[in-house]
Amino acid sequence: MTAPDTPLSPVSPLTPAAGDTLARERPASLWRDTLASILRQRSAVVGLAILIFLVVVAVFAPLIATHDPNQSLLGVEQGVLKREGSCIHALGCPADQPEHIFGTDGNFRDVFSRVVFGARTSLTIGFAAIAFAIILGTIIGAVSGFLAGGVDTVAMRLMDVILAFPSLLLAIAIVTAAGRSLVNALLAIGIVSVPIYARVARSAVLATREADFVTASRALGESSLGILWRRILPNSLTPLVVQGTLGIGAAVLEIAALAFVGVTGDLSNAEWGSMIGLERNQLFSAPHIILAPGLAITLTVLGFNLLGDGLRDALDPRLNR
């Protein structure tokens, strides 16, 4: 490297206007770079848009819903006498019939309002179940990868045992054992998802454990826990975030499946899976009662899958772009 012949002038040779733009441009930061590369992924943007829409629906559910999702309208509202299989307001209805965008279900409740409120249930449970699984899985995987040896073998064989079993059946068994409720279903889905995160965390820990900066920390006298918490885990976050995003989608599917087979207890809750399970015999007379929550589940899972794929493509350094 040779020094420039003339020292850089403190006065920019550029025009003042161009200088202003340059001055305004903030230096690239890790977060800005990451965000930019995420937003370059088409699937991430579409997924994010779907999820923002769903979150808005969930947050403002009371404002969007036209009726109380859990109240039977029998006798409350004129004209609601039986299942309105043939009349869907989204497709047009006689003016003298009561307004129900997706009709009413077998208990004379407004299906549209139940679908709207169902977004709250599914998103909350999906997030909570995966948060639980990530925390527990990361602890198990990180500790087992860090300590290696006997602990590692036992922990990972235990994870194998859980993985060997069909997750839905295991979740059903856990919910039945712990008592049928949505909270237990959430925990069950969390538990059956733990092995995935334990494995991801473990392999990330194994990959960084021997890195030079970890050896350096050790040489500086940092404690094992400190190294794990401050050096290794931050560097293992990316695969966990990607897997977690995809995992929420899977959790939404599983909670719907548990509710569909009827092990989540209180069926009066506005939950998409149980809406389908309760009304599935109406498929031939009033398919929209099943289609509406079915499409809602699909849209939610699609959103998480697209975002997860996009995140993986954006954040995985092994994929060259």
């Binding site: 060997a164 069909p166 839905l168 389908i276 498929l283 699909t298 899972v301």
Partner: protein, 381 residues
């Protein structure tokens, strides 16, 4: 190779033992007593006592561990006395003799239940997997070959939708389309059951006049008879065969769509990666036909991750089978397991779980062995 297989099988023994133990305990954690779950809430205490005696449910579950009513008790003083004589050891003893126990609810041996219910699920999952592989791999290859074309984008949109739609929603939608919308057209398909009412597939022992046969061979024959699409085919019962196939199409599509989408995506990304390698360029430079480059050089190398995924999908398929069997009213393993879990039929839960675990282990072994076939560089030690 043989040494590798034997070693792999030995390694799985602790895993299988772990599964048996965990399920054994888990099945007994279920609150409420099995007597009233089976005989009804109004069963008298005397009847329940006899019931508990009969099935040995009053014995210690594991050394020193008892379940009285719906509460658990650990009696340390009882540990030595119950070290050998407890429910778990007697279950292991039974297992060693090939006896999976007798279902409390069905009052029939679990092995008999398996012979009746397993064929339904095997037929369903195999056809679903066949559908997923036969459609998924070509779609994935085509998408990669015509990267970023309309075909590629279209099939990946379809794949994304496929993995996002719950099995039971897809099943219900298919049932609605093919049984209601297309009713009275040649495309109409039945939405439930395995055969139309009035149609039966004659069991093999009956067709071949072997009613006197007993034991394991009889069990195997009855098992094979339960796979209608095969037994009707080999005995030439064409009407029944067609009926069975028509009943199988919708559940198989419902169950196979998620694996199909996953297989298509993995095949695509795997082939895309392989096509960027130098040996593909060499193959092209040699003047090979594009078809030969993609299929013989590209696809063969791209299939390794696909095989892994196919193996991993098994657990998911069984989870999906619970839902598919519920939607299409099929008495298969998934539905039986679900009813056993909710009905506290310990013996069935244990027996079926063991079966699932064994199948899982075997499938993974087959997957590992097939690596060596697909990639000769992999050597087994």
């Amino acid at each position: 190779m043989a040494r590798f297989i034997v070693r792999r099988l030995l390694v799985t023994i602790p895993v299988l033992f772990g599964i048996v133990f965990v399920v054994f305990i888990l099945a007994r954690v279920v609150p409420g007593d099995p007597c009233r779950a089976v005989l009804g809430e109004r069963a008298t205490d005397a009847v329940c006592d006899a019931f508990i005696q009969r099935y040995g449910l009053d014995k210690a579950i594991a050394p020193g561990l008892y379940k009285v009513g719906s509460t658990w008790e650990f009696r340390p003083t009882d540990v030595p006395a119950t070290l050998v004589d407890n429910q778990f050891t007697s279950y292991l003893g039974q297992l060693a003799q090939g006896d999976l126990g007798t279902s409390i609810k069905h009052s029939r041996p679990v092995t008999r239940l398996l012979v009746e219910r397993l064929p339904t699920t095997i037929e369903l999952t195999l056809v679903a997997m066949l559908f997923a592989v036969v459609v998924g791999i070509p779609v994935g290859l085509l998408s990669a070959y015509r990267h970023n074309s309309t075909v590629d984008v279209g099939s990946m949109v379809f794949a994304n939708l496929g993995v996002s739609m719950p099995v039971f929603v897809l099943g219900l939608v298919l049932a609605f389309i093919f049984a209601i919308v297309l009713k009275d057209t040649p495309f109409a398909l039945p939405p439930s059951g395995r055969l139309s009412s009035g149609v039966t597939v004659k069991p093999l022992v009956e067709v071949w006049g072997l009613q006197g046969m007993e034991g394991l061979p009889r069990g195997l024959l009855d098992f094979l008879s339960g796979i209608y699409t095969i037994s009707a085919l080999i005995t030439g019962q064409w009407g029944a065969w067609l009926d069975a196939v028509r009943h199988l199409i919708l559940p198989a599509i419902a169950l196979g769509t998620i694996p199909l989408a996953i297989i298509a995506r993995i095949t695509r990304s795997s082939l895309l990666e392989v096509l960027g390698h130098d040996f593909v360029r060499t193959a092209r430079a040699k003047g090979l036909k594009e078809r030969s480059v993609v299929l013989r050089h590209g696809a063969r190398n791209a299939l390794l991750p696909v095989v892994t995924i196919i193996g991993l999908q098994l657990g998911a398929l069984l989870s999906g089978a619970v839902l598919t069997e519920t939607v299409f009213n099929l008495a298969g393993v998934g539905r039986t397991m679900f009813e056993a879990i909710t009905g506290r039929d310990y013996v069935v839960i244990q027996g079926f779980t063991l079966l699932i675990a064994v199948v899982y282990v075997l499938v993974n072994l087959v997957v590992d062995v097939s690596y060596g076939y697909l990639d000769p560089r992999i050597r087994y030690r």
